[in-house]
């Protein structure tokens, strides 16, 4: 019985292989981060201040969240049917996707400036934070916010944000994309009561999955409480120091936490040290991941070559390599040029040689000036109308975004569908050398084209 011989031979395979299989238990007990190819997190903090309006009765402070949220159900990464059902149940209009992307490119152009540092910006995170604020804005304040967000009214905004949220949200043993929102409300301003609208709290939970928390911004403990919530939502990736201000009555916080694995992982044995050329002409040495695809898509446009790496949960990370002598910021000089670099150019198919430096860095952006330059002025002024949130005169005093991004070799280890993509590939039309040994642009694009993160890497050792 020949199969019995194989059975017996397997019985006697090397001890270390048995030990490996025993202890690994198919990687369930291993922390997920050990297999992460890309990890990115972002927090946007919108702080609202107040003008004192005396004479309102004081309400009792409540302990714990005013309203907690139940996140959408999660499903296995290869559960195609559920993914399609969620897509069908949560239609996102093309016009809305276009509006989000338009906002993304307009803001990215302003924020990704040539200051000698690596930068990673999450347009989607800012969009959600502003959308949540807009849902409580009225009159001119709302009009300005809706204008920059590119939607006609609050009803559309809330409905589309809710649908997009459910569409993007996923958590499985391969990857995770979680957008988490929260609102922090101080019911007391210098001994005077401040009341918030129940309708706002409810719609925030329904459309933005935002939990609501009563706090006292005069207490330093509140900053720690908010920081702990951010750390929890971003799995400890972000641990910002949150300064609170007694003048503050409201904080809106949006976090995006994302990790995923390359469909085609980079072999660690192929990672090697090489030189990265900085803008100032100096050089640094860093680890580069190497991989060659015999047949893959790439694009060429004016002054750049772009190619992408597919991630397991239907997202993609694209890298834009400026031509020699061209700065990444030349390609990011306007929203149209930024869009061209990330989406445009002429498509080809052929051999793609990858050489990508491993990197891990954090960025901080103060966003108020950027938004003011895009026409959002009223929301920052003391006569702002946030009467959908509170009858007090409230205005946004600060908006800040903090991000972290890291990439490494990991991905699914040569799984079944790793190579299927190449079956029936078109005839090679050239060859692209994505040798990212000089400053480059990257973007993480969600399943329906949303820019989750976009940035520039000037020095991977920073």
């Amino acid at each position: 019985m020949k199969e019995k011989r194989i059975f017996d031979a397997i019985t006697d395979v090397r001890d270390d292989l048995i030990e490996e299989a025993k202890s690994s238990r198919m990687n369930k007990s291993r922390p997920l981060w050990q297999k992460v190819a890309i990890l990115a997190a972002c927090v946007v903090l919108v702080v609202a201040g107040i003008l004192l309006v005396p004479g309102l009765t004081k309400e009792d402070s409540k302990i714990g969240p005013l309203l907690d949220v139940v996140y959408p159900e999660v499903y296995a990464f290869d559960d195609y049917e559920t993914r399609m059902a969620i897509r069908d149940q949560n239609p996102v209009d093309d016009a809305f996707i276009a509006a989000v992307n338009d906002f993304s490119y307009r803001t990215a152009t302003l924020l990704l400036s040539d200051d000698g540092h690596n930068k990673s910006y999450s347009p989607l995170s800012l969009y959600y934070a502003l959308a949540l604020a807009a849902s409580g804005a009225r009159e001119d304040t709302a009009a300005e916010l809706l204008d920059v967000l590119g939607v006609p009214d609050n009803e559309t905004l809330m409905q589309q944000c809710g649908n997009l949220y459910r569409l993007l949200y996923h958590e499985n043993n391969i990857g995770k994309l979680k957008i988490a929102n929260s609102i922090w409300l101080d019911h007391d301003y210098r001994g005077q009561p401040v009341s918030f609208k129940d309708a706002f709290v409810k719609q925030a939970a329904e459309h933005f999955y935002a939990s609501s928390h009563p706090v006292d911004f005069a207490q330093a403990e509140t900053g720690k409480q908010i920081a702990a919530w951010i750390a929890e939502q971003t799995q400890g990736t972000l641990n910002p120091e949150i300064e609170t201000d007694p003048e503050q009555i409201l904080a809106i916080i949006n976090t995006i936490y994302f990790y995923d694995q390359w469909v085609d992982r980079f072999a660690k044995k192929d990672t090697s040290e090489a030189v990265f050329h900085l803008v100032d002409g100096s050089e640094v040495k860093t680890d580069f991941m190497n991989q060659t695809f015999s047949s893959a898509g790439f694009s060429r446009g004016p002054n750049f070559t772009r190619a992408g790496l597919t991630l397991k949960n239907a997202a993609q990370m694209v890298f834009v390599l400026p031509d020699q002598g061209v700065s990444p910021y030349d390609l990011l000089a306007s929203p149209d040029l930024t869009r061209l670099a990330i989406e445009g150019g002429d498509g080809y198919n052929g051999e793609v040689i990858w050489k990508i430096p491993k990197f891990s860095f954090s960025s901080v952006f103060d966003l108020k000036d950027t938004l003011v330059s895009l026409g959002v002025e009223k929301a920052f002024q003391q006569d702002a109308d946030f009467s959908g949130i509170t009858d007090h005169i409230a205005f946004i005093s600060r908006i800040r975004q903090e991000t972290h991004i890291a990439i490494d070799e990991n991905g699914v280890e040569a799984s079944a569908y790793t190579k299927i993509d190449y079956a029936g590939a078109a005839q090679p039309q050239g060859r692209a050398e994505m040798i990212l040994d000089r400053p480059f642009i990257f973007a993480v694009i969600g399943q329906n084209g949303n820019l989750l993160f976009v940035g520039a890497c000037e020095n991977p050792t920073q």
Binding site: T11, V13, I18, A21, R25, A76, D79, E413, A416
Partner: protein, 185 residues
Amino acid sequence: MEDTQIIELFWRRDESAIRATTTKYGRLLHSIAYHILANHEDSEECVSDACFRAWQTIPPQKPVSLTAYLGRIVRNISINRWHEKHAQKRYGGAEVLLSELGECVPAVETVEQEIDANELTAFISEWLIGQTKENRILFLRRYWFGDSVKSIAIHTGTAANKLSARLYRLRQDLKNVMEKEGIRL
């Protein structure tokens, strides 16, 4: 208790070695036996027999991996018992395992001598080392530990049909490399 301490107890001829082995490995060994025999009573007996066999063989043996050592014993005892039952038409779990492994049997006809058992083991070990870690673990969880595809699927959060397809490709790959090397069973 650490494996080295258990082995030390065996070497001192301390009968608590059996209790320590049963406590630490009883469940795993039962699982391996059950996936071959599909019968709890028979599996229990195989585990008892395996512990007794360990008592008889340690010393002189001093296993490097107690898991592998005990697992091999229980696999051997269980598959032999399965053969007895098979002859009596009372077979269970191993029917499926052996049927799947039958797909690995190379179809080549060569004038080479049959590969001996040690060479075949070494060949399969090398083939496993050449696989990705994920595939190696999947293959051994299924064909060494005897885990069902369903339980692996639950454990990994992967659809069972995907794992079955992956196991099929692994069996085909093993068959192909054996054929390429002219191995005859």
